[in-house]
Amino acid sequence: MVKLTINNTPVEVPKSYSVLEACREAGFDVPTLCFMKEINEVGACRVCLVEIEGEKRLEASCVTPVKDGMVVKTNTKRVRDRVRTNVELLLENHNRECTTCPRSRNCELLNLAETLGIEELQFQGAKRERYYDDFSHSIVRDSSKCILCGKCVSTCKKVQGIGILGFQNRGYNSNVGPAFQAKMSDTDCVFCGQCVNVCPVGALTEKQDMHRVWDAIEDPEKYVVVQTAPAVRAALGEEFGNEIGTRTTGKMAAALRRLGFNNVFDTNFAADLTIMEEGHELLHRIQNNGVLPMITSCSPGWIRYCEFNHHDFLPNLSSCKSPHQMFGALVKTYYADKIKVDPKKMFVVSVMPCISKKTEAARPEMEQEHLRDVDAVITTRELAKMIKQAGINFNHLPDESFDKIMGEYTGAGVIFGATGGVMEAAIRTVADVLTGEDLETIEYHAVRGTDDIKEATIHVAGLDINVAVVHGTKPAGQLLELVRKGEKNYHFIEVMGCPGGCVNGGGQPQVPQKIRDTVDLKVERAKALYEEDQLMTLRKSHKNEEVKKLYDEFLGKPNSHKAHHLLHTHYTKRFK
């Protein structure tokens, strides 16, 4: 432990602390813009300045380790003046169209400027060259709003192990982007959107598709069906002031209905369906010496990562489409036939915690009979905006449920949103199928949690099934390397492109860094899903009555010819 004094308050903190951590623990808030613990400790923004006795200059508290006897001041005129000047300098070179910026509600730069009371900028000099890239389906990059904090650069490289973004040019002409200002869509970016989540300003945002959804709802010719991914319910509430980890399933369904969708369905239904298809695919591969380990294919970011970086593992990927794509395909066939609506008039909207789903939905193979499986993908954030635009008082909505006949789901479908969820759901079903019994073991805690790589061996019906769960593309790459070398032998691997799985996806509500530093979003949001799972009476995918009915009436059996035609896909080698 180290003893120091902060603003005349004696503090005792562990030796490993930075001055910033010590200040926060002592109850003094020091602003930051570029700091991300262990990921971006670069001391670049220079707004976390503090005065340390005996030091000639002000120090960036985020990268200054504590020392015994240190005397720190965070609120002197000198500190305030310098921080203010530095923020003013950032603002002078910032595209200050805050009124029309998608981030203005929770922009960290704007908040800081407001706290510091910067009400006027006296001078406006030149601004750096602007690069604007909205060519991809997922991400919009606007360098005129970038404050060069480098969080996206570090996140892409250190967290995801990809490294699309980097600093280019020098000094005042510095900018962050793909090498040689390439379009994001021309790079091996997987559109996980982790960079969007950490961007403190509006430099990286999702490509918005709200207006297309509004247009479709308005169009009397269109029959608009919406589905929501499991992770959305675990985070949507945050946009309406609820605590992180608040589950808002019922209110979400109610809100969607009030937005004017003709049907409100749940992707969880398709998650259960995925388990049926993927589970049987796995059994088939195990029993017929197929390519193993089989790897999940729900996460489009992961799929794109594999297509670019691990060509040798493409045959290992499950051929299942991701759940929302399956869902779209079924809405325009099975469901359209049921309700006697011309599928050409149907418009399927997916609400996803993900921006990579936008790119996935646009893949050429994601259609049947020249009808796109999914017509528009919006993020959790966009849904929240639509609810606000419609003037719906979200927190006062009653809890409603999803529509029949594609709205039923089991607990297994719900936990898809957290890392390990697909694996757990699959085990629940595969174990029952192999034993032919209704097993009492439902929860498999070995595959839960936020460890980078989780492993388990399931003993069932005389078989030992080795499984692994990995989340984030960087650990995924590392795990594949171990498998490639033969150091690891698995039957089944679950991979999610984002750390923590979909609950921490690139389309989820943006949380200020200050809160991210102390709250583990992945854990809190996952809790909400596991809670819902526990409350369900049906917790195994194969118990889903509506899914059973779907097989009886339409698909036949899992992996049938028709199922393959509608619910399965193929992958492409992509080159960097």
Binding site: R46, R57, A60, R82, N93, G150, N169, G171, S174
Partner: protein
């Protein structure tokens, strides 16, 4: 010209790179031999007695840096020559490397021996490509004579040297940026802790010195610390390589004794200022250092006398401006340089260098307002107080010193 000295520059123009034997005949490598015979402590004791200070600009006492490098317990450490000579108006390292390459190699080997490093690197700025090729030639020849390689001169000390080229950025002269650049990363400084002395090149303890420092060490070991110390005037020890340029009759690289006055350098060594005046001001030490007005030309050229007045010996550059030079025009060039060379990592330097240059250019055009001048000071304060590395911290120095000494002239450019 008799005011100059020939100790560090004693072998200039006396041999070419292929003539290693001539270097040896002149007395070269005798410093290394003495070091190998007397041991590391003798080397450190000598440079301490010679009061040698780092020649890169910060003037840190050498024996302290060398002692702490020697005391690092790690088995693998490195010694590094910073030959990224990028300070405007500085070109003495170029002469040292071009005209006496073996002395730098000798100094580096002594450093390796003293600190316990087995590998040395020379980081040469990209623009000195001819010198890099020449250094590689010199390294090969030195190796063929067993001044490098295994069991040097029959001892159990082994050492090798590699020359390395940067990609052309001023900021790479900063130690952490230099090492980032050598790692193949973008040449941007990193946070100071841990210092490169603890974790530098390839994450190992690394001692970095300027080219001239190594040349001085070789000279001190060759001739003894007294011989070096005695070169100075009026009780000051040693000599300094200077790069003299600007409005001066005889620009060039000179070796001058510490204790000589600025006036003597300009008039007797440099031959005057082209317009027959005494000169208006000089900038000594590099773009990041203060302007010295003609009223202070009687200041002795020593670390202490300069420091007392807020001036710098720095890299040893002296840029002379005569009466025809407007101070604001000079500042425009200085601030333009920093705008161009800021790496862009930290806010105050990236944005501040640009804004300072803009305001100074407005001054040049006689259209700057009082408020802009005030803003200039605010920005300068923030840059000095909160920039990440030395570049941003010292970029406003010249401007502030100009306001101190030439305020009246500058304020004439402000619109009323």
């Amino acid at each position: 010209m008799n005011k100059t000295r020939r100790l560090i520059s004693e072998y200039f123009d006396k041999y070419t790179v292929t003539e290693i034997d001539k270097y040896i005949d002149l007395g070269g490598f005798s410093g290394l031999k003495k070091a190998l015979k007397e041991g590391p402590d003798f080397v450190i004791d000598s440079i301490q007695k010679a009061e040698l200070r780092g020649r890169g600009g910060a003037a840190f006492p050498c024996f302290k840096k060398w002692t702490s490098a020697k005391n690092r317990p790690e088995p693998v450490k490195y010694v590094l020559v910073n030959a990224d000579e990028g300070e405007p108006g500085t070109f003495k390292d170029r002469d040292l490397l071009a005209k006496d390459p073996y002395r730098i190699i000798e100094g580096l080997i002594i450093a390796g021996y003293t600190t316990g490093a087995k590998e040395g690197y020379i980081y040469i700025r990209e623009e000195y490509d001819d010198i890099r090729r020449q250094m590689n030639e010199a390294i090969a020849l030195a190796k063929s004579r067993n001044f490098l390689g295994n069991n040097i001169l029959g001892t159990d000390f082994s050492f090798s040297i590699k020359a390395y080229t940067g990609a052309g950025a001023y900021v790479c002269g900063e130690n952490t940026a230099l090492i980032e650049s050598m790692h193949g990363n973008v040449g941007r400084p990193r946070v100071k802790t841990p210092r490169v002395g603890e974790r530098g090149l390839f994450d190992k303890p690394t001692m970095v010195n300027n080219v001239e420092t190594y040349a001085c060490v070789a000279a001190i070991m060759n001739h003894g610390w007294e011989a070096y110390a005695n070169q100075g005037l009026n009780g000051h020890k040693g000599t300094k390589m200077i790069s003299l340029c600007g409005n001066i009759m005889r620009p060039g690289v000179y070796e001058v004794p510490f204790g000589i006055t600025v006036k003597e350098i300009i008039e007797e060594i440099g031959g005057g200022t082209r317009d027959l005046s005494l000169g208006k001001f000089i900038q000594s030490g590099g773009a990041s250092c203060a302007l010295i007005p003609y009223t202070h030309f009687d200041t002795p050229y020593t670390y202490d006398d300069f420091k007392k007045k807020g001036f710098d010996i720095g890299s040893g550059s002296i840029v002379v401006a005569n009466g025809n030079v407007r101070v604001v025009d000079y500042l425009s060039s200085v601030s333009g340089f920093f705008e161009h060379e800021s790496c862009g990592k930290c806010t105050p330097c990236r944005e501040g260098t640009k804004r300072m240059h803009e305001i100074i250019d407005d001054l040049c055009l006689n259209r700057a307002s009082d408020q802009q001048v005030n803003r200039l000071f605010e920005i300068a304060d923030s840059m000095m107080d909160s920039s990440l590395c030395g570049l941003g911290q010292t970029a406003p120095t010249a401007t502030l010193s100009a306001f101190k000494h030439f305020k009246e002239e500058i304020m004439e450019s402000v619109t009323k």
